[in-house]
Amino acid sequence: MTTDPVIAMPDQWLQMYGQMVRIRAFEEQVNELYTSGKMPGLAHLYIGEEAVAVGTCQALRRDDYITSTHRGHGHCLAKGAAVDRMFAELLGKEPGYCHGKGGSMHIADPETGNLGANAIVGGSTGIAAGAALSAKLRGTDQVAVCFFGDGALGQGLLYEAMNMAALWKLPVIYVCEHNRYGEYTPAGEASAGDPQARPAALGIPTDEVDGQDVREVYAAALRHVARARQGGGPGFLLCHTYRFRGHHVGDINRSYYRSHNEEEQWARERDPIRLLGLGLIQQRMADAAALERIERDVRAEIAAGLEFALAAPYPDPGEVTHHVYA
């Protein structure tokens, strides 16, 4: 665990708090949209893991890159995507980030450096290294962050990409969101040994943090980003976190792979939003009223974004053949 001092100013922590609340409220609304039959497709919720996306992206510049996963709403929002256009994409509407062609699992937003969520587990681990190689060849100091879950630890592409990133000192940071379950299978049944030993064997510096504590995630991400930006090569950040909900919204009966008690305990004791809120109050960086104000503002933003998306038009049917080729 890191022992770094807290290195952000109060307004930055409040910003991160607001960003986590935004992701939580967005996803609660996604759950509602899905269960009420208004949203087509699939929904994989990020609730409980907000500190990983927010702590990491807070350490990035707008022109840095991220690649994301099938559980990607949190990453997109943390990197700066707007709520209204994300809702529109989830509903398959024209003003959505991808004009309704990507949906929940494929939101991309080059304006904020988001190279896309990816529905193939581990599928973006090479793309992130490629973005890092590109930054190096173009002589910029951009970095790329590759988010992936513990499920991707079983995908060979991850190791091919990390090997090349290490050989060529590419500015890419592999952020493992270890939420303990790959779909419906406990991580212990799917990956052997210590996840950190794998990048360590390639000579990649690794860090292990409490992924429920955004302060720890942010501090570690800052170190890895700074090193990568200065030419120090790749990093690996193992974030221990927890998926509060099911693999996807329809995964309701979960007792065959994890207990109700375990879920309750995480929600009660390890909620990243609550942990930061309490910490800020204890350190007198904010009072309860300030946090409530943030939440109220975010809820208003979510409601407005949803209203926008529900009222937005679907794409013209003729759009179906556009963008097959550039």
């Binding site: 690649t67 990507g102 490629g130 590109s134 090997n163 090349m164 556009h322 550039a326």
Partner: protein, 341 residues
């Protein structure tokens, strides 16, 4: 012997030099790398070794190891890196040594490269070229001999190029590098030493324009890549029997120049499609169907298909040589179509 029956569009017809297919590929890469600093090459043994086929020999001396990057043996990884680099402003050329090995990179080709532009609603582009090889008859057996371009051509969002002459290889590769889409470029490894006339000066050949390699009136032989030379030999044999064969090379499978293929079929009334990929569910089926639909009223016989046998490519020369269409076999089918056998 010149394999070039027509100078490419925009090329000076008279001037030209004899180059091998491999030299033409290298010249295209060198010219594009000089013209555009964002072009780089990544692949296994591409730098000092110049690839296992020596096609890139010397490029690293001019462009350095930053732009001619030797990679580990990681086909999926280098393809993914190519996709990511292409999405962020570079124009990578990924070298996959043997076409058989695209299997290892299929997720990156099919689910990533081909989909990024569409899934992002047109916001992201993947100007990526994957150069790889194809073709049997090198006694390399089943894992180094396949022609798997039909796999790639099945997927929307990709372009697929099959050059058959040094001049085509150069002009098509330059277009592929300048294209804003992922292009998979299949080179016949048996052809690297074949010489042909390559125009002097700057030229490109657009993707999606077929080439009539030989004009004729009685039967059309549509032939791809390695089979173009086979078709031209068959046409030569048919000359002796009084059958005038036209040889049409689509040059690119995606996009496919259906118009030129259909026009030739309408002219001759009889068509054979010859290709080195496996015949089952293969390129010949797609092309035969396009021609049948477009030229039905002009056809005097069903379109004939000749592809590789539906067996893994065997090692023994006695066995392997049976598996791909030969000029003799093509001529025999043409005679039958024309009612001479």
């Amino acid at each position: 012997m010149s394999m070039l029956s027509q100078a490419p569009a925009g090329a000076p017809r008279a001037a030209g030099r004899e180059l091998t297919f491999g030299q033409a590929i290298k010249e295209a890469l060198a010219e594009e790398m000089r013209r555009e600093p964002r072009v780089f090459i990544i692949g296994e043994d591409v730098a000092e070794a110049g690839t296992v086929f020596k096609v890139l020999s010397g490029l690293v001396d001019e462009f350095g190891r930053e732009r001619v990057i030797d990679s580990p043996i990681s086909e999926a990884g280098i393809t993914g890196i190519g996709v990511g680099a292409a999405m962020t402003g570079m124009r990578p050329v990924v070298d996959i040594m043997f076409g058989d090995f695209i299997t290892l990179a299929m997720d990156q080709i099919v689910n990533q490269a081909a989909k990024v532009h569409y899934m992002s609603g047109g916001k992201l582009r993947v100007p990526l070229v994957i150069r790889t090889t194809m073709g049997a008859t090198r006694r390399s057996a089943a894992q180094h001999s396949q022609s798997l371009y039909a796999w790639v051509a099945h997927v929307p969002g990709l372009k697929v190029v099959l050059p058959a002459t040094p001049a085509d290889a150069k002009g098509l590769l330059k277009s592929a590098i300048r294209d804003d889409n992922p292009v998979v470029f299949f080179e016949d490894k048996m052809m690297y030493q074949v010489k042909g006339l390559v125009p002097d000066g700057e030229y490109t050949i657009p993707l999606g324009v077929a080439d009539v390699k030989r004009a004729g009136t009685d039967v059309t032989i549509v032939a791809t890549s390695s089979m173009v030379q086979v078709a031209l030999e068959a046409a030569g044999r048919l000359d002796g029997t009084g059958i005038s064969a036209e040889v049409v090379d689509p040059r690119t499978l995606l996009p496919l120049d259906a118009e030129t293929l259909i026009a030739s079929a309408q002219k001759t009334g009889r068509v054979i499609v010859v290709d080195e990929g496996y015949q089952q569910y293969g390129v010949t089926a797609e092309i035969a169907s396009v021609i049948a639909a477009g030229a039905f009223d002009s056809l005097d016989a069903p379109v004939a298909r000749m592809g590789a046998m539906n067996v893994p490519v065997p090692f023994s020369p006695v066995l392997e040589d049976q598996t791909v269409p030969t000029a003799e076999a093509v001529a025999t089918v043409a005679m039958r179509l024309c009612g001479r056998a």
